[in-house]
């Protein structure tokens, strides 16, 4: 009862906040009266910002109308440089998926090995610490130069940026499995491999999945920047292309969609995390 009423109240507050935000936004970007007098011939050559004092920032109604247009035809294809938002998002998700899966394939086994060996763990630590904080875009020129293919470069950048949180979390999860459990396994003469899969993996799984959840967030952050740089396809390219046209309306729509997709990806991994979490 109390949780239900809390949820309803929270929902109400959310809606009020949203409406207030949209209202303020709408009022803030209203057109003012014509700014300067100009001849009709001149006015015909100028944009609405200059002739009607329309704010350069679109209002919520403009964005809503444009969004409806995109939602109605998400998969159109007008040639290599103009595709529907659905297709663009598809490209981005495919890139993120590929880079991220490769990172999972490398980070988890590697993290397991490092975590089980205190020697390796200490020896590799400085490298990981240096590589971890490097900005994704700093890798881009290097990737483009060595890999010589822009789409693979984008995937590589996703890979290199999403690998560290997973690696560190796996190492940490594996290394901090309770000593008692391992000792019990040892007394029962369980082999190393079996110990890894039946004792350590379940115990470390929640930590590993937390790392994976952080990584997918980072991967999704990176893809937009990478696609803005290499261009061609994807939601990042869409943002850049509309930025080129100074179409802030479309940029706002893209921002909204990037947020929604990011949230969905995060929720999927959150669900996995709940599946493997156990009460102690």
């Amino acid at each position: 009862m109390t949780t239900a009423s809390l949820r309803i109240r929270a929902g109400l507050v959310s809606i009020v906040l949203l409406v207030a935000f949209l209202g303020v936004w709408h009022l803030a970007v209203r057109s003012t009266a014509p700014v300067a007098t100009m001849s009709a011939e001149y006015a015909k050559l100028m944009g609405l910002t200059a002739t009607q004092g329309k704010s350069a920032m679109p209002g919520p109604l403009d964005v809503g109308a444009k969004l409806w247009e995109h939602v109605r035809r998400p998969f159109y294809d007008n040639g290599p440089n103009d595709k529907g938002l659905g297709i663009q998002l598809g490209y981005s998700i495919a890139r993120v998926g590929t880079g991220y899966l490769l990172a999972v394939l490398v980070a988890i086994p590697l993290g397991f090995l490092i975590g089980m060996s205190p020697l390796l763990s200490q020896a590799l630590d400085p490298f990981i610490q240096v590589l971890k904080p490097i900005s994704p875009l700093a890798w881009m020129p290097l990737a483009l130069y060595t890999i010589k293919d822009s789409s693979i470069s984008a995937i590589f950048v996703i890979f290199i940026c999403s690998i560290w949180p997973m690696l560190l979390n796996t190492v940490f999860g594996v290394a901090s499995v309770r000593k008692e459990w391992i000792n019990v396994a040892r007394t029962l003469e369980v082999g190393t491999i079996r110990r890894a899969f039946t004792v350590i993996l379940p115990a470390a799984a929640p930590t590993i999945l937390t790392g994976m959840r952080i990584s997918i967030g980072i991967a999704w952050l990176v893809i937009v920047a990478a696609e803005m740089l290499v261009g061609g396809t994807g939601i990042g390219y869409f943002v850049w292309n509309e930025w080129n046209n100074l179409s802030i309306t479309n940029v706002i729509i893209a921002i909204l969609l990037i947020g929604v997709v990011g949230m969905l990806l995060d929720q999927i991994l959150a669900r996995f995390t709940r599946m493997v979490t156990f009460p102690e």
Partner: protein, 459 residues
């Protein structure tokens, strides 16, 4: 006597009538030394003319004998007689086909600005298809990316700023990789735009301490802006700040007051005016009328591995350029290149750029039909000029063999041959003298020209 004269004209004057001795009259001489990119009525007719002239000349190598023959039988009879025993039609077809392209599906990169008009419009208006190619024109994020993607062979050829192929071939700002320019895209078509608040600061002498944006270090924009400032006594390295900013961000930066102005490619200049954030201070044409801006470039490797594809591409670009150079086609072109797949800009803006009737941002409407123009011929003297400026501003250190570099990168000879085959009339020389802000440039004496500048980077 050139390939384009009508050999069936018995009254043609055989004695040359102009100063250089190559043209019939002084007027024709003028026209040939000025610009010459008038497409002929129809492709077939053009090729037919070229083939028929060649055959006629081969039969009567002596001008006088041919004239006597034509006088006695008449031109149409002569042509009919000729086609009796020589298959003119077939010869024309064979000629027009040229070599089959080694590679038909090509990718050409471009930056969404009006300089790329010929490259872009060749897709929607079918110029690539006409020359047997299936070309994807791919929009690219910036000059450095287009350079890397072309070097990486993701693109077979690309739209580049005219100095870029020189810089790449010389290894400035990248590894040295031999590149070549078969065609210039546009001439003129840039402008200096200042923020609206500088309405009263029209004298460059008042610009000390201002911040300007240019699209790229190796660009005509950089060299022209530096030249313009230096001519007014402003040292571009110490008195003002020049920043390399991608064109689309220029308008936003101008609005945000991060920069005071820019020398940028068009549709960006006009876009700043359209959005009411700046005004046109000067068209680049007023600095140097007829300056090159962007080029169509490919690596030497592509040219040697796929010479026929390259020739077909060049033909398509030359064709498109010729089409774009005609004022009456400009409106149609503006509509063809405005959609999101190509430039992605309001049609009104593109129309103002291409037709030359534009709002100047100060409340006036101006008309200048040559605001932007299109001329494919890659003058080697352009390259020499750019090299002098690269040296002037410290991008090239030490000595440079101007002529050798210009001739290696700017393929004037090959383009002339190609244009001749297409029935166009390219200029006879590869070097021409021109004036930049009233100062004459002699391509034969680049070092003297360079020595004449007071303001330059101390080396």
């Amino acid at each position: 006597m050139s390939t384009f004269d009508n050999p069936f004209d018995p009254n043609r004057n055989l004695r040359a009538g102009c100063a250089c001795g190559q043209h019939q009259s002084a007027a024709e001489h003028e026209q040939a030394t000025a610009l010459r990119c008038d497409p002929v009525e129809s492709e077939e007719k053009r090729y037919e003319g070229v083939v028929a002239s060649a055959v006629m000349r081969a039969m009567f190598p002596q001008d006088l004998a041919r004239r006597a023959f034509l006088k006695s039988v008449g031109a149409s009879t002569a042509l009919a007689a000729l086609s009796q025993f020589f298959p003119l039609q077939t010869a024309t077809e064979v000629f027009a086909q040229a070599g089959t392209p080694e590679k038909k599906d090509l990718k050409v990169g471009f930056i969404p600005i009006t300089c790329a008009t010929p490259i872009i419009m060749a897709a929607p208006l079918g110029f690539y298809a006409k020359h047997g190619l299936n070309v994807d024109v791919v929009k690219t994020a910036g000059w450095a990316v287009i350079r890397d993607k072309t070097i990486n062979k993701e693109y077979d050829a690309a739209h580049m700023l005219a100095p870029m192929p020189l810089a790449i071939s010389l290894g400035l700002g990248a590894n040295a990789i031999p590149f070549a320019v078969p065609a210039i895209e546009n001439i003129n078509g840039q402008g200096i735009v200042l923020a609206s608040k500088h309405k009263d600061k029209r004298d460059p002498k008042d610009w000390k301490g201002m911040k300007f944006a240019i699209p790229f270090d190796y660009s005509m924009h950089n060299y022209l802006l530096r030249y313009y400032l230096a001519e007014h006594g402003i040292d571009p390295d110490t008195d003002v700040q020049l920043r390399s900013v991608p064109p689309p961000e220029m308008v936003a930066n101008l609005r945000a007051d991060n920069i005071d102005g820019f020398l940028a490619p068009d549709n960006i200049c006009q876009r700043a005016i359209y959005d009411g954030v700046g005004f046109m201070h000067l068209l680049s044409k007023e600095i140097w009328d007829g300056h090159p801006c962007c080029s169509f470039a490919a690596s030497r490797e592509f040219i040697t591995t796929a010479p026929n594809s390259f020739a077909a591409l060049t033909r398509a670009i030359v064709d498109a350029t010729a089409y774009a150079s005609k004022a009456e086609n400009r409106k149609q072109i503006a509509e063809a290149i405005a959609p999101a797949n190509y430039i992605n800009a309001p049609v009104t803006v593109l129309e103002q750029v291409l037709t030359g009737t534009y709002a100047d941002g100060l409340g006036g409407v101006k008309t200048d039909e040559k605001r932007v123009d299109f001329d494919p011929f890659p003058w080697q003297s352009f390259a020499v000029w750019m090299l002098t400026q690269m040296k002037r501003w410290g991008q090239i250190k030490g000595d440079v063999d101007y002529k050798a570099v210009a001739e290696q990168v700017y393929l004037a000879t090959d383009t002339r041959k190609l244009m001749t085959e297409m029935g166009l009339a390219p200029p006879a020389g590869s070097y021409k003298s021109f004036a930049v802000m009233g100062k004459t440039f002699d391509p034969a004496k680049p070092e003297d020209y360079l020595a004449g500048f007071k303001i330059r980077k101390a080396s």
